[in-house]
């Protein structure tokens, strides 16, 4: 790979979707339905470039390419921005552009006839730009800018159907909740800059590994930066926005909540892994947060009835998995799971979208027997379910097995067993969803139909990727070759990749157990779910109400804030408004006085001047008689005057 062409290509990747955004947002009325093709064209080229760079990087075996330029210069202290390309970036590039491309193609069918069609594509393009910028950044500053842009675009996309109150509320909730995490992230960045005086990843990595920063500081930095990841990747306790965010269009859910935005948090942790490698306490926090989130979200997914909410909880759970993997040192495993998860979760979301599109329903209790009418959707959905459950040879099996063996090998047995139970739950709720949706008989009036080609082709493509990507990477260890952190923590990663037979068998067993249970309960209906729900009714209600987290937040944060706001509002009205009004009154009074002054004196002077000129002209114009003799008389009189003066003086 020639190094010279890499930089223009890197710039081109986000630039093309940016152009598509500009065209669609400013000329939306003109382009109309062509908005989709503009966006798709742009992202296709970006996708091809990403593929080229990805394979170029594999073949050439180069580690990192970095391009810097000065942005701000304060004398000795300058801030540089720049782009970089390494294994992590390349993998993320491929994931993001692939899913973006497929989602955009899928949206042609799904969003057909929407009144804000071109706007939708503009937002999608801009979201892609922000995400690509986040991935390509070689420093924290550009990453943070893109990070916030991603947040903004997700707000716009979740609340895309803002006529629905729930949608606009969900957008706000997502935005504010992630902002809570971003606050921590920003604080962490400032702390990092104050000790490192640079934002560049490479320089910071060198600085950290040199050991000049105390471990305590690094722990704090790690935890604060992880706050950002918690917000974006919907980890406990900031997971509440993700289920609500399902109010957005389903392709948006697929893009944002499966492959890109939520993965940004995981990416952030992976990118800043050089800090965590030297901050064991922060690492523990990461690991346990991820583990808890994984099982916590999975348990909620067991009872959810909205097809998209089940997937949302599943996403939270799987993100917990990735964070967990990173927390126990499984850098490669975490990223691997991110990659495979991006594909099969996007497939699940798009499949769910197809179901919703075809049936018009979202509640799985009202569905059933859709498989007969929607064969392609069913088969692709099945592939995705098998992948997420961890059945070989689907990709999920490999990545999940890697995550669990990383946990096992690191010696965190609690984390390992929790992860295994989560895997069981995952298999169960996914197949519960599958059986309830596609098998049995219809439980309500549904006139389902298969979705159009623009929607099924992305489904099939993603299904293909879900099958092969895991296998491709594992054989020959290509992924590990590409995405590895570096020699210094290989020890921490333990025997990752060697694959403990115990772990492999365990994960396979729990997956099959989960599927079998779902099969008995929802396909054969041997065990009544309602009976269990009744028996375990407190637990059931707890899960159904999502552990009352929203209610707790409402009581703990929202209500007090509202109360305080009310009080402050009253304070505002009484005191501040009084002061403001008083000063306003004084200003008014002064203005009136000034007005008077203006009118009488200033205007008087001005008008007086005008009046004088006018009247003077009135008087003097009589001199201009036009009669030559008058003029001569005056000249003669002037002569008299001159001579008189001459005589007197």
């Amino acid at each position: 790979m020639v190094k010279d062409i890499v930089l223009p290509l890197l710039i081109l990747i986000p630039l093309l979707p940016l152009l598509a955004f500009i065209v669609n947002i400013f000329f939306g009325k003109k382009v109309g339905a062509n908005a989709a093709y503009i966006s798709i064209c742009a992202i296709s080229i970006s996708f091809l470039i990403s593929i080229y760079l990805f394979f170029g990087l594999i073949i050439s075996g180069e580690q990192t390419m970095e391009f810097k330029f000065d942005w701000l210069n304060f004398g000795s202290l300058g801030i540089q921005l720049g782009l970089m390309l390494d294994g992590l970036t390349a993998v993320m590039l491929v994931v993001v552009t692939t899913v973006s491309l497929l989602v955009k193609i899928y949206s042609v069918g799904y969003m057909h006839g929407d009144s804000r069609y071109s706007r939708y594509y503009a937002y999608l393009s801009m979201f892609t730009v922000a995400m690509l910028g986040l991935i390509l950044a070689n420093n924290f500053l550009l990453l943070f800018i893109s990070w916030e842009l991603v947040g903004l675009m997700s707000y716009l996309l979740i609340g895309f159907w803002y006529e629905k109150k729930s949608a606009s509320d969900a957008g706000k909730k997502a935005f504010i909740t992630t902002k809570v995490g971003d606050l921590g992230f920003f604080a962490g960045l400032m702390l990092l800059f104050s000790v490192g005086m640079t934002f560049n990843f490479k320089d910071l990595a060198l600085l950290v590994s040199s050991g000049s920063i105390p471990e305590n500081t690094l722990n704090w930095i790690g935890i604060l930066i992880f706050c950002g990841a918690v917000g974006k990747s919907a980890q406990f306790p900031l997971h509440v926005w993700l289920p609500d965010a399902m109010e957005g269009p389903t392709p948006v859910s697929a893009l944002i909540h499966a492959a890109t935005m939520v993965a940004a948090g995981v990416y952030l942790v992976a990118r800043t892994f050089f800090i965590y490698a030297h901050a064991p306490m922060a690492m523990e926090v990461v690991a346990y947060t991820g583990t808890f989130t994984a099982i916590f979200a999975a348990s909620m997914a067991l009872v959810a009835t909205d097809i998209k909410r089940v997937l949302a909880f599943s996403t939270v759970s799987q993100l917990g998995y990735m964070i967990m993997a990173l927390g126990v040192g499984g850098y490669t495993a975490g990223m691997f799971h991110l990659t495979t998860h991006a594909f099969f979760k996007a497939l699940l979301f798009l499949g769910a979208g197809s179901v919703i599109h075809g049936s018009g329903k979202q509640d799985i209790r009202e569905m059933g027997g859709l498989g007969k009418k929607m064969k392609i959707t069913m088969f692709t959905f099945l592939i995705a379910c098998l992948a997420i459950a961890g059945i070989p040879p689907f990709s999920g099996f490999y990545s999940k097995e890697e995550v669990l063996s990383a946990a096992f090998n690191s010696g965190h047995m609690l984390i390992y067993w929790t992860g295994t139970i989560t895997a069981f739950m995952t298999a169960f709720y996914m197949f519960r969803l599958f059986f309830m949706t596609f098998t049995g008989t219809t439980r309500s009036e549904i006139h389902a139909h298969e979705s159009p080609g623009t929607m099924t082709i992305p489904l099939m493509t993603l299904a293909f990727l879900s099958i092969v990507c895991g296998y491709l990477f594992v054989s020959g260890q290509t992924f590990e070759k590409l995405v590895h952190f570096g020699a210094e923590i290989t020890a921490r990663e333990g025997g990752e990749g060697t694959g403990s037979h115990f772990v492999m068998i365990m994960s396979l067993t729990v997956a099959i157990l989960g599927i079998a249970l779902a099969f008995f309960m929802y396909y054969l209906k041997k065990i009544s779910p309602e009976y269990i729900a009744e028996k375990l009714s407190p637990v059931y209600r707890l899960l159904l109400n999502k552990y009352y987290v929203d209610e707790i937040y409402e009581a703990a944060f929202v209500k007090p804030v509202k109360n305080i706001s009310g009080k402050l509002f009253k304070f505002d009205q009484k005191v501040i408004d009084g002061a403001v009004n008083g000063s306003g009154f004084m200003t008014l009074l002064m203005s009136k006085l000034q007005n008077l002054f203006d009118k009488v004196i200033v205007d008087g002077a001005v008008n007086g001047t005008g009046w004088l000129a006018n009247k003077g002209g009135e008087v003097l114009k009589h001199l201009q008689t036009g009669l030559i003799q008058d003029y001569i008389l005056m000249a003669a009189a002037g002569l008299v005057l001159v001579v008189l003066l001459k005589i007197i003086f």
Binding site: L627, Q629, D630, L633, A637, V640, V643, L644, I647
Partner: protein, 174 residues
């Protein structure tokens, strides 16, 4: 030992006073009579008396030029102009405007002050001897030698005035 009242200069002075009186009287009539035709004729008388003064001051050539040019040319021109224009020359029409008194006051002031200036100027008049060979010869020589350029320019001015007058008057009305 001349008798003071009968020397040659006194006679010259007497003639001068006579013609001066005529000139002043006719000039006053020129500016005051109502009939413009009479005014022109009084102008002729005025010019004649001025020509006579020129003769008294030994400026024979100038006197002749005065008679030829003014009385022969300018007066005829004015008479023609008067006849061409004065279609309404009634005695009843006021020939002077309303600033008559103002003008008289200004003129009296000017007269008084300029007289004062003249009498306080300290100029001394003395009898210059006559030029040898006659004054006319001298003037002719000077005009052809020292003042030849002004002389030629004056001829050009006359030519321009001639053509100009013809163009202005001869222009057809639209």
């Amino acid at each position: 030992m001349d008798f003071p009242f009968f020397n040659g200069q006194l006679i010259t002075y007497g003639f001068f006073l006579l013609f001066a009186t005529v000139a002043i009287a006719s000039a006053l009539l020129v500016v005051s009579v109502k009939n413009i035709m009479h005014s022109a004729l009084f102008l002729a008388l005025f010019l004649l008396s001025v020509a006579a003064m020129f003769f008294i001051f030994d400026a024979d050539f100038l006197g002749i030029v005065q008679i030829l040019l003014y009385i022969g040319g300018v007066i005829v021109l004015i008479l023609f102009a008067v006849m061409l224009t004065s279609r309404v020359s009634s005695q009843l029409i006021q020939q002077t405007n309303e600033q008559k008194f103002l003008a008289i006051i200004v003129c009296i002031f000017l007269f008084g002050m300029l007289s004062y200036v003249i009498f306080t100027s300290g100029l001394k008049g003395f009898e210059r001897p006559l030029v040898e060979g006659g004054i006319t010869r001298n003037v002719g020589q000077l005009l052809m030698t020292v003042y030849v350029l002004p002389f030629e320019v004056a001829s050009l001015v006359l030519l321009a005035a001639l053509i100009g007058a013809m163009v202005i008057v001869g222009k057809k009305d639209e």
